[in-house]
Amino acid sequence: MRRILGHVTTGVLVLAIALGGCAQPAPQAPPLSPAAPQPPPPLPAPVKKLQGEIVYGMTSDPVIFNPILATDTPSGFVNSRVYQGLVRYNEKLEFIPYLATEWSFSADGLEWTFKLRNDVFWHDGVKFTAKDVKYTYDAIKHPDYTGIRRTDFRPVERVEIVNDYEIKLILSQPSAPLLSKLGIGIIPEHIYSQYEIGRMREHPANHAPVGTGPYMWGEWQKGQHLVLKANPNYWGEGPWIEKVRVRFLQDEMVMLAALENGDIDYMGSVPIDDLHRVKQQHAHRLFFWEFPSNGYTYIGLKQTHPILKDRRVRQALTYGTNRKELVDEIFKGYGTVINANLPPISWAYCEVGLDPYHYDKARAVSLLEQAGWRRVGPDGIRQNDKGERLSFGLVTAIGNTRMEQALIIIQQYWKEIGVEVKVEFYEWSVLLNQYLDVARFEAYMLSWSLGLDPDPFLFFHSSAGVDAQGNLVGFNDVEYYNPRVDELLELGRTTLDPAERKRIYDEVQRILNDDLPYVFMYTQNLVTAMDRKFEGLVLSPLGPIFPELWYIADPR
């Protein structure tokens, strides 16, 4: 749950593959108990044999092959193939067993028991046991741990080994979002315990990982290629593709050229400006898969700001922004307008009872007038009776071209209703250190990249705002404080029944849709291109999953 921005800040990109993700407008919420393993593909049993390679294009080198320390997408890609978590999500984004075989919750929700597979070996031949699971979770909870997973495991009070293949999590309070966090890769105790936790980052295994997954460490020529080899002793079906190779192509346009040239088989996000042409020219060879990103772009409005604390002003800003046109203009239609805090792929996404805020300039103007901004000054900007101008500042990150384009258009829309916004761009760490993480700004525009669980506690709960000492505790940097939302968010965390949770989050979305702590903007769609020679793909709303099941029927 961090902010994303263009490929420039690779370091802060989100580990979307291993842990990210969310759901399609699924009819029902996924159950928290293990779902049935997905049925085999209905094809007439094709000849699967271990052969060939799949070449991915990636813009930056991975940083560290340790799932509890990595924060960047390329490392996440490798980690998700080398390491495995207790659970993972399927094509309906439900959690299914991975290293765990089944699990159960005690009646009060405070004791979670996981049975583990007993046929799993680390790539070095050592047997995987409950000790590894305990070691991994304890490491995250250790005071000397330097990484960003601590919050995820806060509800876990302690981890108890029942026997070699059974483990118990004792929680301090029931936590529905916790299951989605258990997708994090388990690291080998027998290797990492050689170093104390405070120095885990220096362990050589971070650069020659030993996991339990379908792929094993191969070789890495920095900046050129990274190769993973099929694990011949993998406990499950597959892998069928002998090698996973990553080619590093830092420039998006050059990566596209490499895709067109046939140098790479897979490009995660084809630049939308070229999409139409590439689709036409390479339809025979490439397969395109469009999927919404699990996140959204928004303009955060400081709730204590003299102008922005008035809900009518916030609503006017939303009515006064033609978000549909913005999506069509900037993303060529590859995006969806959103009106609350969840993207359409989330199972808890709600549309019923939400104001769609269709573009309505007249309504925006009348709301501003109601809020006291009656007079339009000589410069076209509204003033109130005290002669103050309807003007505020907005900060954002430099380097994201689409966001920059969007802001130019938004400034124009708002000028038309008599609102002035002064935009300032900052380098990522400056933006965080001087504005967002100290909660000092009037407004800001950014994107959230979300986890698989819909819980927005850290964004909108009072306790995630600014504490008595003036420190920002969570991500509620706009300082939105609503007792009813607080109550619902607490309930949403402790309720384990998905249908009940859905009702809770529906109400949260309706309140946020009315209160507008943010101007909710849009969620972007990504288009992935992949060579047609790969079969057996399992497509989730977040892109192809289960890479160990993919195979090549006809190696060209």
Binding site: V12, V254, V473
Partner: protein, 326 residues
């Protein structure tokens, strides 16, 4: 001579110290620090303080500088905050790639630019001169990233022999294809980046060579040489060229630091696995140790470059003597 060299070497010490001090200060004064990567954004202040303490980031900057310096003089540049590896390893595994590209570019540029400059000077205002001058200015004026894109889309995508980006084909090694196969493979990947980088710097060298040659051929001793009836070839190559090359030779020394920093843009577009991209990422992530090591290597090479320049002067121009007592 030895005494001169020793004195010059000694003079570089305060210079390097100054450079490291200034870069250390600038890097640490810039907003943000590596804690953004080492702890969650939502981490409570005491946790952030703890992480800072683990990495010594809580000490005053002068103390941190002293700690860095005392280890650096012993050759220990620390570990990356992000990757956890020794930073010198990270730089040294990429440095050869940057140097390799730069040296090839340098060779190509000098081999082509020196004759071009000579011809251009000797046939001043001829069609040839105009063509060379025009091309040089064009090369100077054209943005290299734009030229690079043009080559990728209009050459690499059309000519099979020329790859889009990278430095080597995966799987082509001495054991699989033999040295000839490797040589051809590596050469293929050099074509585009060398063209782009060479085109830009060729302009400078050609212009230098041209004006230097023009100046020399107007000298009295050239007139003398001509008047005593020497063949034009001898006049130019024996008497004029040596002197005209002087400024070019010094230019060569200054190229060393440029070679090291390479071209981040070219490395980026052609995905050349050099140090430029590493340094750029380290700066964005505030990976202080990597940035400091990068700056230090750069500073040492710069000092070394100037040093080599001076010595080259000595070699090509017998009139210049570095007398110990000045």
């Amino acid at each position: 001579m030895t005494a001169y060299l020793a004195r010059r070497a000694w003079q570089t010490v305060p210079l390097l110290l100054g450079i490291s001090l200034v870069s250390f200060a600038v890097i640490h004064l810039a907003p943000g620090d590596p804690v953004g990567i080492l702890a969650e954004r939502t981490a409570p202040p005491e946790e952030v303080a703890r992480v800072r303490a683990v990495y010594g980031l809580d000490r005053p900057i002068p103390v941190q500088y002293w700690m860095w310096l005392s280890r650096a003089v012993r050759g220990d540049f620390g570990r990356s905050y992000v990757e956890g590896r020794p930073v010198m390893d990270m730089i040294l595994e990429r440095l050869p790639n940057t140097l390799y590209l730069s040296v090839v570019v340098l060779l190509v540029v000098y081999v082509l630019a020196i004759p071009a400059g000579i011809v251009s000077a000797l046939k001043q205002y001829s069609r040839m001169d105009h063509a060379v001058t025009g091309l040089a200015f064009w090369g100077q004026a054209m943005p290299s990233f734009w030229f690079a894109y043009l080559l990728v889309f209009f050459v690499a995508l059309r000519v099979d022999f020329i790859p889009v980006a990278g430095m080597a084909t995966y799987g082509v090694t001495l054991t699989t294809t033999g040295w000839w196969g490797v040589l051809v493979d590596r050469a293929r990947y050099l074509i585009l980046p060398v063209t782009v980088m060479g085109f830009g710097s060729m302009a400078t060298v050609t212009r230098y060579m041209r004006s230097s040659m023009l100046e020399v051929v107007r000298q009295d001793y050239i007139r003398t040489a001509r008047s005593k009836g020497l063949a034009e070839r001898i006049v130019i190559y024996k008497h004029a060229l040596g002197n005209a090359l002087l400024p070019i030779v010094t230019l060569l020394g200054f190229e060393l630091p440029i070679l090291f920093s390479g071209s981040v843009i070219i490395e980026f577009i052609f995905s050349w696995p050099g140090v430029g991209t590493l340094a750029l990422r380290a700066m964005f992530q505030r990976d202080y140790q990597v940035v400091m090591a990068f700056n230090t290597v750069g500073a040492v090479l710069m000092v070394l470059g100037h040093f080599i320049s001076d010595i080259l002067y000595l070699v090509v121009d017998p009139r210049i003597k570095y007398i110990e007592k000045g």
